[in-house]
Amino acid sequence: MAERFVALAIGVVALLTLSSSAAAQTWNFTGMTPAQFKSLPPGGPAPVRDLNGIWDGGPTGVGATGQEAERAAARSPFTPLGEEMARENRPGNGPRKVLVHEINDPLSTLGDPAGFPRIVTFELRAVQITQTPNQVLMLYMFEKRYRVIWTDGRSLPKDPDPRWYGYSVGRWEDDYTFVVETVGLDDRTWIDNDGDPHSTALRVIERYRRVNQNTLELTVTIDDPKIYTKPWLVRNRMPLRLLPPGTDVMEMIPSASEAQAYQQVISSKTK
């Protein structure tokens, strides 16, 4: 009975929320359980070749604690070099997590950029997707960062100078599936919050499938033969849900000074 009431109430909330931009200025779905998030209404049929809108990955997008076993199970085994690099990383989450004062996560301790693909594996909260005639722009709430995905038919660079967010090109595989390929990624970044490493040879494939009006599914393939024995899915059909168009996305910027303050006031005293 309680379950039915919850489902009904969530449905009504979602309908009201999705239909009212004025009443949803900072709404996001991260406070929901995965089941509640999944039960949000689908809306109408998927529009053709259209990803425009503000999307939210919900609790799974955040990479909330409690999802570590699933992530670890999806990961491909390390190569010897991968094992060596993984030993250098001391994450706060995952099977190799350490105590707070031992963490050496460049994002949370130094204020380094999350980089790609970590921007889609951790703290993937709201992301506004905007299509132009020759680009798809990803505007992320986390870090207030953006990516440019070229859709003008250009090729990826052959020997790129590595960048935090790499070089991306995209194409429509069919009317509802947009595929992005990214290379040239800086190996100072981690793949995820579990401290999984990568090399500059990393190639990432993102598949965005518009399932219906309110749902976009994201699958992300990690292909780095120097570090992993075979390609693996760091995101597997993860749903993103459409936020009302009037949503005023909040700032969430992990600044270096704030990371330093946390180290001094909290982390260093937990030894």
């Binding site: 009431f5 009443a23 406070g31 909330a64 604690t65 704030e258 006031v265 909290i266 937990t270």
Partner: protein
């Protein structure tokens, strides 16, 4: 009317939903999970920051020793959804903090709840008070 209805329904959902593990940049092993301490103290600083907000306050422990505590919450975005804000505390506020301490005995921990001078209780863990999210 619609806003009112939304508030009622969202509140109902908030009461019934199970706790959602929050996003976090670290695990729980540093903390003495399950242990709770309640301290009355005076706010010395409130830092609204990523990856964690933290509150500093002076309080006497069981032995009567005055110590300056530093206790963390989640990030500003997650705390905003719970009704917290950059202006939630002022220096000098008298507060009652229920917290989970770290294992090493340092005056450090993470906040469970804070009772404010006006009688309001801010909740840092467990089900997200959904009324605060329906903005």
């Amino acid at each position: 009317m619609r806003v009112k209805l939304l508030g009622i329904i969202v509140s109902a959902v908030g009461v019934l939903v199970a706790p959602v593990p929050a996003g976090a940049h670290h695990g729980a092993a540093t903390f003495d999970t399950g242990k709770e301490i309640t301290l009355k103290g005076v706010v010395t600083e409130w830092i609204w920051a990523n990856p964690h907000c933290f509150l500093k306050f002076d309080a006497k422990d069981e032995s009567g020793t005055l110590r300056n505590w530093a206790v963390e919450t989640q990030n500003p975005v997650s705390m905003t959804a719970r009704g917290w804000s950059r202006g939630a505390f002022k220096v000098g506020d008298e507060v009652t903090v229920k917290l989970e301490p770290v294992k090493n005995g340092a005056p450090v921990g993470r906040i469970l709840t804070v009772l404010l001078p006006n009688g309001q209780t801010l909740v840092a863990v467990g089900p997200q008070p959904a009324a605060a999210t329906a903005q």
